[in-house]
Symmetry: C2
Subunit: 158 residues, 2 copies
């Protein structure tokens, strides 16, 4: 991963833009809210028993060291996420936090590459320098939370 | 345990559920993802300049000691949230965390009282014992995060 983008001024994030115009709206849907948990089965039970929400899709993402269960809510998902190995970033996140919690938000976009370029054009750091495959056949890229209001953001193209 | 929660607007006239049965689906939409920030203006600028997302609604909620800006994404919102006084829970949350981040998730429900009853019927703690007014004319109730996968959940009825 090559991080070349740096934010210049904290108080004026728009200062690097060559033009003052904001981009056309890039976010088409809250794709998912991701909740990292140590016990995926217990988390699925919680959402079923409390809210009647059931699993629409379940997948192991080997490259990220996670297993996820997606619960469909309208056109969005609640993504329950658990590590499949100790060296996955989600395993470390759970250990640091000391328990489950909201891990990241996924914003759906029409074109992941275009949205990622918009982030880079603002001088903000990214975790994925180029779009890559995500779960359920999506194309995704993560933005660095330190440059995004402390929020780990995943850009998701279906 | 007798679950009397019923889904409003469902064709089903309301079946008394047995102990083991999950409730009918209660979550109709991810209403919002709430991001707590120390500087609301800078946060609004970030979403406008990076994603072309603009403010749909802005409101001070005196009872909670917060000001919020709602950015509409399809039928959901990104809620940017900042404290208006030092003793607000969001001010304390920001101080504890040391910076901005995802604060809670709002799930839209047809009937806040019904959804809250379902949570209580499972034996889970709540922060609001009864539904109360939220921003933009909604009716809301918060669930205790310790009993909800470390996730602060707001139930939102429009």
């Amino acid at each position: 991963m090559s991080i070349t983008a740096r934010r210049v001024g904290d108080d004026d994030p728009g200062v690097q833009m060559s033009e003052s115009a904001a981009p056309a709206p890039l976010l088409t849907e809250i794709d998912h809210i991701a909740i990292a948990v140590p016990d995926l089965g217990a988390a699925i039970d919680y959402y079923r028993d409390t809210f009647g929400a059931t699993v629409d899709h379940r997948e192991v993402v080997e490259s990220d060291g996670v297993e996820e269960a997606l619960l469909k809510v309208a056109e969005s998902y609640v993504q329950l996420l658990t590590p499949t190995r100790d060296d996955s970033t989600v395993a470390k996140w759970l250990a640091n936090r000391g328990g489950p919690g909201i891990h990241h938000v996924g914003y759906r976009v029409a074109d992941c590459a275009v949205a990622l370029e918009s982030v880079k054009a603002q001088g903000f750091r990214v975790l994925d320098d180029a779009p890559r495959p995500g779960s359920r056949g999506t194309t995704v890229a993560f933005i660095h939370p330190k440059d995004a209001l402390g929020t780990l953001i995943e850009l998701v193209q279906e």
